[in-house]
Subunit: 366 residues, 2 copies
């Protein structure tokens, strides 16, 4: 079965958390597996910062690049498409088919650029809720995701408590820490500092590739861990047996970052990068409430929360804080801290443990 | 007693680790306290990446800015200038009085810029050794420093084992890890990406302030810790009571980084920043040897090594690795891991513990 991107068009206006309105909107999504008769086997996978709707499989027989979480989504995998109807949609504000800053504003005929309104995790979930209605799904068996995807799963449980039975939240948090805000702000500054960015108006000229590439390099450092970098690169040199005493990128870790940074610019829009980073910065389920526990007063979903020992971007203490808030509401919450050296990337890579835990969890709550 | 910068000029050529030569050179330094008759009370303080020779005190009666480690250097302090003759010199490659890429190349009458040769930690130490000879100091009672300063202290113990009695190494490492190389490479990329950098030739035009500012912001994230950022900033907003839904820097942590980044450009040269980062990347005392322990075969200095629990730039495992290598050579080494939330900055801030430990250590070994 080949993957295929579909598009949901909503002609109305979306009322955003900021008070602004946005419409019409398009949401790109893909589905895998078959929705059963009583529509009780649907799982929504929410993607992270740089993800898209293409969570698994290939688009064509000669497609070289598999979906971003193919290890976890497919027949017999953690999210078993033989059993479940899996949906993944590109977030609002993104650049892979859904309406975002690079989309054409129908009122001007030009890309929105920075006239695109700031969107939040709650706004992303609101757009997904419209898609959910469109698909005729009353209640998701599960809403799941890692990192920014986990934030969306949490937001679902807060915004639409009766529209999901469970949430599986990986390597995520209920509110961004100042360190993570800092690690979002500096990449933004990299983009702002690129003259090609031109305050967001670059769609008919050269793109801010240098700024975006460096921004992404910072990201890659935060996705790995001290231990995984030692294991993956050590102090190995790329070509030489001894130091070159120049400013060339000669350590393997340098070439890796440069390669990943610049290849990212081929597939991602710098303005989308900025908007999604702000959406995360604003994410704080406790905002305006006496405590985080108050955020989950109406939540009825059952939770599986997973964190990873070497993840320093969304460290385990944040998952523990979340689980405490859930337990204070007598919510059925299972917490597992996975021992892993893979850093934040562990949520994408530790799929065997995920498969085992998700299978048991979904069996138990179903 | 007011601080005063002095300049040591060396008219010969320095043979660098790369094989290149550099000369003549100037080294800026400051001294505090009085050298005793048998010249046995001299302590060399080596500064970190952005430091300079001005380690303590004021330059004039109305000087507002105190030296960078004034809390630790002065009468009755950790490095007691009532007892010790304290010397601090600006590193080779720096931009605060010592010869570096912003210095005039006497052969061309223009700033070296990128024609300046790559210098290493060993080259910095070689320049300090010339200064040591000039000052008539046969053996330092101690060579000390944190971070890149600690690397210089270690290099002294390897390059000139009989020229120091002790080394006090804070928040440092015997070899840079790939994570730290990555955290140096990305700031370099920020500078390269600034068109004002112009491959290092900016001394008669606009300076690459944007690139250098963003580069420094990355540094500031690595100097703090997750915990200290929560304590210092939390998710507090600077002006508003609620989110502004814009790209303005509205979280306190964002304004802090922006302020620190841009104020750094007023006092630091972007090319020096690049050269010092490379000097650190190349630092690996085990390079070309079977093991790190082999680096210290001829070392006779006694060591006090300190690391800080929340320092993730030079985490404790690196100090432990160093201490193991010292102990394998039967070197007298004391290791203390200080419980601190201040992150890498702890070496500058936890001065009470340092004072106590350095006092006892220097008393014991003297």
């Amino acid at each position: 079965m080949l993957a295929q991107t579909q598009f949901f068009h909503y002609s109305g206006d979306l009322r955003l958390q900021s008070g602004a309105t946005l419409g019409p909107i398009t949401i790109a999504y893909e589905t895998y597996g078959t929705l059963n008769a009583d529509k009780s086997n649907a799982i929504l996978i929410c993607h992270a910062w740089s993800g898209d709707a293409h969570v698994a499989g290939y688009y064509s027989d000669d497609d070289k690049k598999v979906g971003w979480w193919d290890d976890a989504v497919g027949p017999g995998k953690a999210f078993d498409t033989g059993k479940y109807f899996v949906v993944c949609s590109n977030v609002l504000g993104g650049c892979a088919g859904s309406t975002g800053p690079s989309s054409i504003n129908p009122q001007t005929g030009k890309p929105y650029a920075l006239t695109f309104p700031i969107v939040t995790i709650a706004d992303m979930v609101e757009a997904q809720r419209l898609l959910t209605d469109h698909l005729g799904i009353g209640q998701w068996l599960s809403v799941t995701g890692g990192s920014m995807g986990g934030m969306q799963a949490l937001q679902w449980a807060v915004s639409y408590p009766d529209r999901l039975k469970t949430a599986i939240v990986l390597a995520s948090t209920a509110r961004l820490s100042p360190q993570t805000i800092a690690l979002n702000e500096v990449p933004r500054q990299c983009i702002y500092a690129d003259p090609n960015w031109n305050k967001g108006n670059y769609y008919d000229g050269p793109r801010p590739d240098s700024g975006l590439a460096v921004a992404r390099m910072i990201g890659h450092i935060t996705f790995l861990s001290d231990a995984s970098m030692r294991d993956k690169f050590g102090r190995r040199l790329r070509n030489n047996t001894d130091y070159g005493y120049s400013f060339e990128a000669e350590f393997e870790v340098e070439s890796y970052l440069n390669y990943r940074g610049f290849s990212f610019t081929k597939r991602f829009d710098a303005n989308s990068f900025l908007y999604l980073s702000k959406a995360m910065d604003y994410f704080d389920l406790s905002n305006g409430l006496p405590s985080l526990a108050d955020a989950f007063r109406k939540t009825s979903a059952k939770f599986l929360v997973m964190s990873y020992t070497s993840d320093w971007l969304y460290p385990s203490w944040q998952s523990k804080e979340l689980v405490r808030a859930l337990l204070q509401n007598d919510i059925d919450a299972t917490y597992v801290e996975i021992d892993s050296d893979y850093g934040h990337d562990a949520f994408l890579l530790e799929v065997d443990r995920l498969a085992e835990l998700a299978r048991d969890f979904l069996k138990r709550v179903n």
